[in-house]
């Protein structure tokens, strides 16, 4: 901007003094220097983030013969899709992907709805014990769920509500382990994966929306729920997008709850976790038993599995990226 001003003046007066020329040059240099520094920073950052992905892509297309060829760095000599084919088959990729999307999609919706309602309650309603309750919400962010493994498992192995279910079920709860119910129940009641953080996000966001907006609606005779859905939610789109994306991605990547709640997790994260095992067994079956499996070949296939697991997220991110970046900026969440 500064250099433009100077240029205008230069054009106007047509009498270029020595001083003006010096300023012109200095400003030009300054802006060039800034461009270069910025470019370096961006390239560096992108490199750090993208390099592992490029490396994975490069390995995924390599042939088995290319592993031991020392002349090959990144570009494979024998392009092949065999790795992908192998992984598709052993992982049952598309079925697991579908299950992952169903599971992450439904918990995402339930979590967003429940946490928005709870966050609204904390932001706008004055009731006894509000601060204590909110303190407890923050507390759930601090306590790692891993510390509650056995109680969590028992809770859903014999699921019961105040002993009501066992009244009708021969004195024992129902077994929800091995079903999606634990995920759905926890996210619908606002205690799902990292729900504490989402409640916090919504509360902060709703607090930032001017009270007058609601007051006007309330004066017009709108009910609390009406106000919430027609005034608050449309204004909370950035928070909603942020929470939806985070909850989707975290559920998609989660292995702790998926392996705890599901016996044989047929979702991407679970399949990825057991990829070394399933692919390894497949390889030794092909080679006719024995421990003839080549560890480098195995790790190449596992690498392809990792790539295939994150690919849907990358594609998804490309579509929602613009909204997401804006939303995160506006909710003030970083990371």
């Amino acid at each position: 901007m500064g250099s433009e001003l100077v240029r205008d003046r230069v054009a106007d007066t047509k009498t270029t003094t020595k001083y003006d020329q010096g300023m012109l040059l200095f400003n030009k240099l300054k802006s060039w220097a800034w461009i270069i520094v910025r470019a370096f920073l961006l390239i560096g950052l992108s490199f750090v983030i993208l390099y592992p992905i490029f490396l994975k892509i490069s390995i995924a297309f390599k042939d088995k013969a290319d592993i031991y060829d020392t002349t090959i760095m990144y570009i494979p000599k024998n392009f092949t899709l065999e790795n992908f084919q192998m992984v598709f088959e052993t992982m049952g990729y598309f079925e697991a992907l579908w299950n992952s999307f169903v599971l992450s999609g439904s918990t995402m919706l339930l979590t967003t709805i429940s946490c928005a309602l709870i966050g609204y309650g904390f932001a706008r309603f004055n009731f006894k014990g509000r601060n204590i309750l909110f303190g407890l919400v923050v507390f759930t962010i601090l306590v790692p769920p891993q510390t509650l493994m056995v109680p969590t498992y028992l809770q859903y192995r014999d699921f019961d509500l105040f002993g009501l279910i066992s009244l009708f079920n021969d004195g024992s709860g129902i077994r929800l382990i091995g079903t999606y119910w634990p995920f759905l129940l926890t996210s619908a009641t606002g205690v799902g994966l990292r729900a504490g953080l989402f409640i916090f996000i919504f509360r902060q966001f709703f607090k930032g929306i001017p009270q007058e907006l609601e007051d006007a609606a309330l004066v017009d005779g709108a009910s609390v729920f009406r106000t919430f859905f027609s005034i608050m939610l449309p204004n909370a789109i950035p928070a909603i997008i942020t929470v939806m994306l985070f909850s989707f991605v975290w559920q998609y990547n989660d292995v702790y709850f998926t392996t705890l709640y599901l016996d044989n997790p047929n979702v991407i994260s679970g399949k990825l976790l057991s990829a070394p095992s399933t692919i390894g067994h497949r390889l030794s079956a092909i080679s006719g038993g024995g421990d003839a499996t080549d560890p480098l070949y195995l790790s190449m296939l596992v690498n392809t599995a990792v790539l295939l697991a994150i690919l849907p997220l990358i594609i998804l991110y490309m579509f929602v990226q613009r909204h997401f970046v804006e939303s995160v900026e506006r909710t003030g969440i970083v990371g």
Binding site: R157, L260, S277, G280
Partner: protein, 231 residues
């Protein structure tokens, strides 16, 4: 010597009517001390349920279970959790490591929950990490470790308090055979160096062939099978 776990006419059924599932009928087994014990069965045969019964996380429909001579049936829920806390270590399919804590902190955390005094903790951490062979990794966080290494941390955490029984449900299910062998090796190391008994389930024949004492779940019964192992 008194067996570490003994069952007398133990039965376990789920549900009733035509939905009734009879998993075990009149099972009588006794498991000796300081052994590595494998439990084999296909998926749905009741391996997890059996471990839950041994770990006082579930109660039999009828019959008795003794752990170190103590009858489980007579304990209330507080005594059960006390028994689990002092005598048992669990290794689940879900590793359950706290992501923000290093290997060392994860194990220390387990010790704190069990109530091991602060002065004893460093020693115990060191020994358990040695047994699973992760000395070089104690300052790493779980996401910097491979699946097999994470499982070994979970095992180190389970053995650090010095339980008399370790119950491990499919500890090698997610690992390739070679990594699975390392886990079995760590288990052998453990029974050689301590008084612990390890009971683990698996459906992997290769893994089970490395274990000397195997119990097979079949037709609502539990049969003993001795393996000739070279390990």
């Amino acid at each position: 010597m008194e067996p570490i776990i003994k069952t007398v006419k133990m039965s376990k059924h789920f549900g009733s009517g035509n939905k009734k599932v009879e998993l075990f009928n009149d099972v009588d087994i006794s498991i000796g001390r300081n052994q590595l014990v494998g439990i084999r069965g296909r998926s749905g045969s009741g391996k997890t349920t059996l471990l839950n019964l041994f770990g006082a996380l579930d109660t039999p429909t009828s019959g008795e279970i003794y752990v170190e001579g103590q009858l489980l049936n007579s304990l209330d829920s507080r005594q059960r959790s006390e028994l689990r806390r002092t005598k048992m270590g669990f290794v689940f399919q879900s590793y359950g490591l706290v992501p923000l804590m290093t290997v060392e902190e994860n194990i220390e955390f387990g010790l704190r929950i069990v109530g091991i005094p602060r002065e004893e903790r460093p020693d115990r951490i060191k020994r358990s990490v040695e047994i699973v062979g992760l000395e070089k990794r104690i300052h790493h966080r779980p996401f910097e470790l491979s699946g097999g290494e994470q499982q070994r941390v979970a095992i180190a955490r389970a053995i650090a308090p010095g339980p008399s029984i370790i119950l491990a449900d499919e500890p090698t299910a997610e690992l390739d055979t070679k990594t699975g062998f390392y886990i079995i090796q760590a288990f052998h190391e453990l029974i050689k160096n301590t008084e612990t008994t390890i009971i683990m389930t698996s459906h992997d024949e290769e893994i089970l062939s490395l274990i000397e004492h195997v119990y097979v779940l079949e037709d609502k019964r539990v049969a003993y099978e001795k393996n000739e192992t070279t390990v």
